[in-house]
């Protein structure tokens, strides 16, 4: 993980109630691999801060001692990860899958040069 800014010292108070700066918005956009132009950045920042204000309603809730719920059914059911036999099950469908690629040649996906 790449730090956005200096991590907050401790606890929730340090994070909640903060609004994002233009610089932070650009940093997040780089992490998300979405180009945000200088013209767009202010509008994006305002909208994101509006959503973060909504999210900040979680701040006041005391959740000490509560187990995080990661699976939709783990409140009711004991769901264990299903495992299968370690066999090859996928057929070769490379040609079909590469037919929808923006650029492919000889079974390879083409991208701009990354190694000089």
């Amino acid at each position: 993980m790449i730090p956005l800014t200096r991590p907050p010292a401790s606890g929730l108070q340090a994070v909640f109630g903060m609004s994002l700066s233009l610089e932070q918005v650009q940093r997040i956009a780089i992490l998300a691999r979405i180009a945000v132009s200088a013209d767009e950045a202010r509008g994006v920042m305002q909208q994101l801060n509006r959503v973060l204000e909504l999210i900040d309603q979680m701040q006041a809730q005391d959740t000490r001692g509560i187990e995080p719920m990661a699976h939709a059914l783990d409140a009711q059911l004991t769901v264990s990860q299903r495992l299968r036999e370690d066999n090859v099950t996928e057929p070769d469908r490379r040609a079909e899958f590469q037919a929808v690629a923006p650029a492919a040649e000889q079974g390879l996906y083409l991208v701009p040069k990354v190694i000089e």
Partner: protein
Amino acid sequence: MLNATLAELGSALAAGKISSHELTRLFLGRIAGLNEKLNAFITVDEERALTDARAADERRAKGEAGPLLGIPLAHKDIFCTKGMLTTCGSRMLSNFVSPYDAHVIERLAAAGTVLLGKTNMDEFAMGSSNETSYYGPVRNPWDSARVPGGSSGGSAAAVAARMSPAATGTDTGGSIRQPAALTGISGLKPTYGLVSRYGMIAFASSLDQGGPLAKSAADLALLLNAMSGFDARDSTSLERPAEDYTRELAMPLAGLRIGLPREYFAEGVEPAVRERVREAVRWFESQGATTVEVALPNTKLSIPVYYVLAPAEASSNLSRFDGVRYGHRAKEYADLKDMYCRSRAEGFGAEVKRRILIGTYVLSHGYYDAYYLQAQKLRRLIAKDFEEAFARCDLVMGPTTPDTAFAIGAKSADPVQMYLNDIFTIAANLAGLPGMSIPCGFDAAGLPVGLQIIGNYFAEARMLGAAHRYQQATDWHLRAPKEAPL
């Protein structure tokens, strides 16, 4: 025929009163007449539909039967359909012809249904009004200046306008139930894990669930029978014995305990919506059901919790759209990273970008505990609210949405205003519970009101039974919209 239920269409097909080919042509004609106005479909392939229909007629001629054999259906454009454009409402996939079928598509094709076309939707299912679609907004057939809801807005409008007898949809925070409510039809989001997510383009994987939209609860039961079932290709698909979801359609209502969450009847709900829902509940009481007030105290928190968890999962899921293997690639770029950034900037619309950015932020170093982990803990409290409620009742009832269909453009400037429309539907997704919406009357402007029924895990048959009994005594679900007369 346009207003017939699936059971009626099935009988007509079985009796040879109509062929699937004739029925398919009837609905294709209806689509041709209404789609320009309503924009419910992104893709309609008449030739393929008629080929499917002929195949169904041949299967029947060879002695095959089945409740869905030869029935035309529309599929939300989030389900991959082999050899057919699958856009997810996005410019990113505006050139994507899927090389495979989703599990739901396979199951419904095996049952003999005919694919009429792919329906419009909010981009990547992110929206509550269908206004975020790259293909333009869908219009509500009850009032074309208003939204049909979202994200399965095209499916809902298609069923409401009788352009298709039924349709598929997906529901991550209300995307089946809310548009069903706003267009006066019936829609069901099953228990998480009942319907395979294989080939259903992922938004938030711990919340996404496919389900049917149709005119009636009995139709939903027939469709769920065909759509549900174990699939090894979805790691969260549940291995359970097959169920017949029509088995409780004749269930007695005497003794049924209905829970009424006080938070669902509080301020902020339009008076007409509250009144129609109360009238529906009174009907259940007149049939011998009892009501009890229950509390879902964390209802308000479900929105902030959802807008942390869903964007977090989306930011991860949508990282696959990079302009390399499929989808949109920018024409001009400096290097590989610039190609990613520009392809994604051009391919995604504003709401999708907003959610990816929020998700990226809440998962980033130093913020994870405060946002993501806190949201997961609150998710457990929301699920616990329901656990306590279901100790005291069999089904929960309330409004599906706080108001009826709103005007196109009314909420699109402020994302938060839009998000609040899902206040009553999101909690069922967070808890993994089944939820449905059925029409229960109209407001003064003649717009439909939805009654939401939430059940305990795997209570679909009972929910559908209660809804069917109500629909036997009322005709809200058979009323056709003003702007799409029969």
